[in-house]
Amino acid sequence: MAVYKRGYERYDGPLTSHTTRLLAMPRFAWARLMDQKLVVILLALSMLWPLLCGGFIYLANHLSLLQGFGGNDLGKMVEINGKFFLIFMNTQAVFSVLLAALTGPGLIAPDLANNALPLYFSRPLTRLDYVGARMAVLVGLLSMITWIPGLFLFIMQSSMAGGTWFAANWSLGVAIVGGFLLWIALLSMVALTCSAWVKWRIVAGALVLGFFFILAGVSQMVNSILRVEFGTLINPTRAMYIIWSAMLGVEVPSGPTPWECVSVLAALVVVLAMILERKLRPVEVIS
């Protein structure tokens, strides 16, 4: 009997939306990541600094509690302003690099190593969808330790300090969310590109760490040997720090201007996107 006579009929029931289908990938990835003890531990550790900052905000707004300990002087020290949030963002940036190095490489590398891309792309999924879905995993995860606690701290401060403070400093909230989103975008691109570049999860993790730490070292080396300041531009962390300083209205450190930093980081993201585009092809490598 011919196979077609068995009466195959394709499914013609209702389909979920494109976005829902796209979110299936991050949903499974998040569940898998949350099963990893190390990810959970690092997430918990990443929350310590925001908690501490929350404590600072509370104390800064309840100086009476500190009367016995020279409260007014201490209050001046922990004034909640752009500088305070810059330090908060800078610390969380370190945790986010570690988290990205731990979780990012497992997103694309195994698919490439196991020739799984043709499987993905044989479904109604474009390369852009695939990258978007993989990026969503990191964006979701990194948001938990960056702009979400940052925004929470900002709201906490606004509610404690009152409307006047909020009216004068609302731009800090925008800067925290915007600045962290820029950072997450850069970090995700780096992590995904490293993951696609080397195929091996472990090596990709080392590459993410190396990317940030070695570039920071090289930038410092260029600046100190050549007695210049443009070397800062090749240090993504420092360049982002300069951009954040400008966004938060804090004195910008000497060296490249925020716009120069924006241009270099944008160029970096374009290069990373090109590498990703080149590496993510639906071909099977026979080895």
Partner: protein, 371 residues
């Protein structure tokens, strides 16, 4: 039998060295190793070119250059020193707010004015002196020594300790030593070694030797190349004094620190590659630990490989330039350990780590499916 095992270990090392030195995957390690030398050479070339360019344009006596004072007019400066090596002019608009009386109230008014800027650079044979003018009046003066040996030596110390030891050797050893076992797991080729008539400890020793020889040659070579590149622009009496004085000892200790860095970090990463499925986690922890080490109490500072390596360095490194001011306040570097103790300490730690690695290698099983 022991002699045979040693020969076996050396055979393994020879086979593995090929991979450690020539594998395409390891080429970035060479880049890390020679990067300081490349930048120092670039710096040397730039200094030499600028010096010859300035000398061609004219040398202004030091006493004349020193006589420039703020408030002087540009014409007076040019009369005394007519041969600047660089002369740049520009103009821009500057605005500021001014208060003006209008009836009974003061009113703020934004005033915009045109500013003529000019910068003259003089060279007195040693120093480069920049004088800046606004509307023809000297408003700032800045001088720096074109070739400053002491400064370059300090810069090299900083580069060596903060970049070379902490990052280049760290990541280089991470790549080389983890590749020895974990890399073979990923390539699915480790079983060939396990099927050889050699004890696992002999295999470990052979592989460690291979990694060590490769890392030491690459990074000690890189350190010496960097040191040479730093010295290259200098000549004459300065160099003679250096080589007849502390020069050879400095060179030796930089090379020794680089080599011992490979010994220490190498053993740690070899063991991490054997003990853990994902060795990046201990690597990240170690990296963060070594990075924050300077901010820790004295005792904890001594629990790091970097502390002992830094203790061997002949010149103290300056505090990193981009360390925030607040953190600089709490930075209190632990007193360096004596060199002899540092070397012994590092070797003892290495032996301990290798012992742990040798008991791990005996337990390791071939199970590529889960890699």
């Amino acid at each position: 039998m022991t002699k045979f095992r040693m020969r076996q270990a050396w055979t393994i090392a020879r086979i593995e060295m090929h991979r450690a030195f020539l594998s395409k995957r390891a080429f970035w390690v060479y880049l890390l190793a020679i990067l300081p030398a490349v930048i120092f050479i670039g710096h040397g070339i730039e200094m030499k070119l600028r010096e010859s360019r300035y000398q061609g344009r004219g040398v202004t006596p030091a006493e004349v250059v020193d006589s420039f004072t703020k408030g002087e007019k540009v014409e007076d400066v040019l009369k005394r020193a007519p041969k600047p090596v660089e002369d740049h002019s520009w103009s821009y608009r500057r605005s500021h707010e001014d208060e003006e009386e209008e009836g009974e109230t003061n009113k703020k008014r934004r005033i915009s004015e045109r500013v003529e800027g000019r910068s003259l650079t003089y060279f007195d044979g040693q120093r480069r002196v920049q004088v800046g003018f606004e509307n023809g009046v000297l408003i700032r003066k800045h001088s720096d020594t074109m070739k400053n040996f002491e400064e370059d030596r300090t810069v090299f110390a900083g580069v060596f300790q903060y970049f070379y030891l902490r990052l280049a050797i760290f990541f280089g050893c991470l790549g080389i030593f983890m590749n020895l076992f974990r890399g073979e797991m990923l390539d699915k080729t480790l079983h060939y070694w396990f099927l050889a008539p050699a004890r696992r400890e002999v295999l470990l020793l052979g592989k460690y030797l291979a990694g060590l020889v490769a890392a030491t040659v690459i990074f000690t070579g890189g350190a010496l190349l960097g040191f040479g590149a730093m010295l290259w622009p200098y000549s004459g009496a300065e160099m003679q004094a250096f080589w007849s004085g502390p020069g050879p000892s400095h060179m030796f200790w930089y090379a020794a620190a680089a080599a011992l860095g490979c010994v220490g970090y190498g053993s740690v990463f070899l063991a991490a590659g054997l003990l853990l499925r994902n060795p990046i986690i201990p690597a990240a922890v170690l990296l963060v630990w070594e990075s924050i080490n300077g901010f820790l109490p004295d005792l904890l500072q001594k629990l790091s490989i970097l502390h002992y390596l830094q203790s061997m360095c002949p010149v103290a490194a300056p505090i990193e330039s981009d360390t925030p001011a607040l953190l600089r306040l709490i930075l209190s570097p632990a007193a360096p350990t004596s060199r002899g103790l540092a070397v012994l300490g590092l070797l003892a730690v290495t032996m301990l780590v290798l012992w742990a690695a040798s008991s791990a290698v005996k337990r390791i099983e071939i199970n590529y499916g889960t890699e």
